[in-house]
């Protein structure tokens, strides 16, 4: 004779309330995730619609022609695309090594913890400076500061195309340097986080095999944190490509293509900021088309970064 199973000892069904709560939480997170994708797609579609007249008029020629003339409605964005790419490249060329150096310095135990934290805070504070302030600083401090260097390079290395124009002050180099300072905290802070979150096992393994500190950092820690560091660089590049105010103030706003980094130039965001207020008709469409190109450019950069990270991580 088996005793009847007591009700309490069975597996009790959860209260319907608790289940509903779980369900609604899942739906809530789904909604938030979709909202982000939705906003992105919405913006893209709106920009594309507004750009449509220009797309119909100029087609892909918009990307390869150099005239931007509102008077006779001729629009080509190549100089701005070129200016955007060159200034961002200069910014990365400076900010990646410096930012990574800062990240390494602030992730190792070179400094007492308190001073180290103060430094971390200072680096992050760089990101809090408004871009218009960077622009002003660029005009009043950086341009005079860089002038002797630019002049020297032009005098002695002027035969190289990239130094071939006499420096005017505003130009691609100045814009690139400003951008590099603006994106430095992004690269430094996120790379540092990536380095700090590595397990201490890795360092011990390398040191235990007779690696010096530098060998440990360069051959083990930095490669292990590679995906985080690339993420940091991509975020920084996104900011550099899209930065408007500071660049407008120091780039010279000239729709030219010159091989010289001293030459005044223009970028897509700077073009938009300068012309949008007075634009009408086809010019608005052309500006929207340029915005779409900028959108595509950042997307392309992000995809390339993903491919790079995947390829490295497969090992």
């Amino acid at each position: 004779m088996t005793p009847a199973i007591k009700k309490q000892s069975g597996i009790q069904p959860r209260s319907p309330w608790s289940r509903k709560l779980d369900q609604s939480f899942i739906w809530l997170t789904r909604l938030f995730a979709l909202a982000i994708a939705g906003v992105l797609i919405w913006i893209a579609i709106q920009v594309a619609i507004a750009a449509f007249p220009a797309i119909r008029q100029f087609g892909l020629g918009f990307l390869t022609t150099t005239t931007w003339n509102p008077v006779n409605s001729q629009y080509g964005a190549l100089p701005m695309i070129y200016g955007t790419i060159v200034t961002s490249a200069i910014a990365l060329l400076i900010a990646v090594p410096v930012g990574l150096g800062v990240a390494i310095f602030l992730s190792e135990n070179y400094l007492p913890p308190k001073i180290q934290l103060a430094f971390v805070f200072l680096v992050e504070l760089l990101a809090a400076i408004p871009s218009v302030v960077y622009g002003l600083w660029g005009i009043f401090v950086l341009i005079p500061f860089l002038r002797p260097l630019q002049q020297g390079l032009n005098t002695y290395f002027g035969w190289l195309p990239i130094f071939s124009t006499p420096p005017a002050g505003p130009g691609m180099l100045t814009a690139g340097v400003i951008l590099s300072i603006m994106i430095l905290p992004t690269i430094a802070a996120i790379s540092r986080d990536a380095l700090i979150s590595l397990p201490s096992d890795l360092r011990q393994a390398a040191v235990g095999l007779g690696a010096t500190r530098w060998e440990t950092i360069l051959m083990v820690l930095v490669p292990a944190a590679f995906s985080g560091i690339v993420g940091a660089i991509m975020l920084a590049l996104g900011r550099a490509i899209g930065e408007t105010m500071a660049v407008t103030m120091v780039i010279g706003n000239s729709n030219n293509i010159s091989p010289s980094i001293f030459a005044p130039a223009n970028t897509i965001p700077s073009l938009l900021a300068n012309q949008f207020a007075e634009a009408s008709g086809l010019q608005v469409a052309a500006l929207m088309y340029a915005a779409l190109v900028l959108f595509g450019l950042t997307l392309l950069v992000n995809i390339l970064a993903q491919i790079l990270v995947r390829r490295v991580q497969r090992i």
Binding site: R203, L209, G210
Partner: protein, 268 residues
């Protein structure tokens, strides 16, 4: 006569500590350690948690230098050289005295690159492929890994990863291999493989192993050191060496009451 000289050679001392005191900041962690580690033997360190056995192990290859508050008093000799003398470069020490850690910690690199890392930073000029094969064979991993040398070391199972770490340590051709609970994160079968491996490795290397597992100590080691810990009034814990002898002696006829109690499982 012949056997006598052989015994004499086998008990050659590789590592010797003299009056070693270890401090972390102001706290004494290890008190007055005097012991010799013999060449081509497996020496195991046993004792309750916090008795400083890992700390002592890390004194032998100066890995404790990574801890800023660490300070050692007394002497640690390696083949009659003082490891803590001012002119000794800890990097050089670690190239002679390798280490295998508690948790398998392969680099997030390919199996091949895991093994070549040490030789490469040491400026090894020989045939890398041959060295990789030899190291993996010695660590009893070659058969399992030979077809996937380009795959990540992290793609291996836990036991395989630990053997990879042993292969990586062997590849720099050290004289001594220190092992800090090398099997404690592994399943029984992987543990057995590591233990078998140790017996082969001791032909060529001197091995010091920290273990929490007393059966393991009695199975694998020639010499056993028992450490104990005593609390201080200020809340610190001081580790000290209780007894150090041949493994059979420690497990069957220990001289000290505490050793007897520990090996029979009455505390710890």
């Amino acid at each position: 006569m012949r056997s006598e000289t052989r015994t004499a050679r086998q008990t050659e001392t590789v590592l010797r500590t003299e009056n070693l005191n270890v401090y972390y900041g102001n706290f004494l962690a290890l008190r007055n350690i005097n012991m010799d580690i013999h060449k081509n033997k497996i020496t195991s360190f046993i004792g309750p948690s916090g008795c400083g056995k890992s700390t002592l192990l890390r004194c032998y290859n100066r890995l404790n230098d990574l801890i800023k508050t660490f300070r050692a008093e007394g002497k640690v000799h390696y083949n009659n050289q003082d490891l803590y003398a001012a002119h000794i470069d800890p990097v050089e020490v670690r190239r002679q005295i390798g280490m295998v850690f508690q948790r398998p910690n392969p680099f997030p690199k390919s199996i091949y690159d895991n093994i070549t890392f040490g030789p490469r930073i040491n400026g090894y000029k020989g045939d890398m492929d041959e060295l990789v094969e030899r190291s993996l064979r010695q660590a009893a991993l070659w058969d399992e890994a030979k077809d996937k040398l380009k795959q990540s070391g992290l793609s291996l199972s836990g036991g395989q990863q630990q053997r990879l770490c042993i292969a990586r340590a062997i590849a720099v051709q050290p004289e001594v291999i220190l092992m800090d609970e090398p099997a404690s994160a592994l399943d029984p079968i992987s543990t057995l493989r590591i233990e078998e491996l140790l017996q082969e490795l001791k032909q060529q290397y001197t091995i010091v192993i920290v273990t929490h597992n007393m059966q393991q100590a009695s199975r694998v080691s020639d010499m056993t050191a028992f450490f104990n810990v005593e609390p201080t009034e200020k809340g610190g814990r001081i580790g000290y060496l209780v007894e150090y002898d041949k493994t059979e002696a420690i497990f069957q006829a220990p001289q000290e009451e505490a050793t007897q109690q520990y090996v029979s499982g009455r505390f710890g």
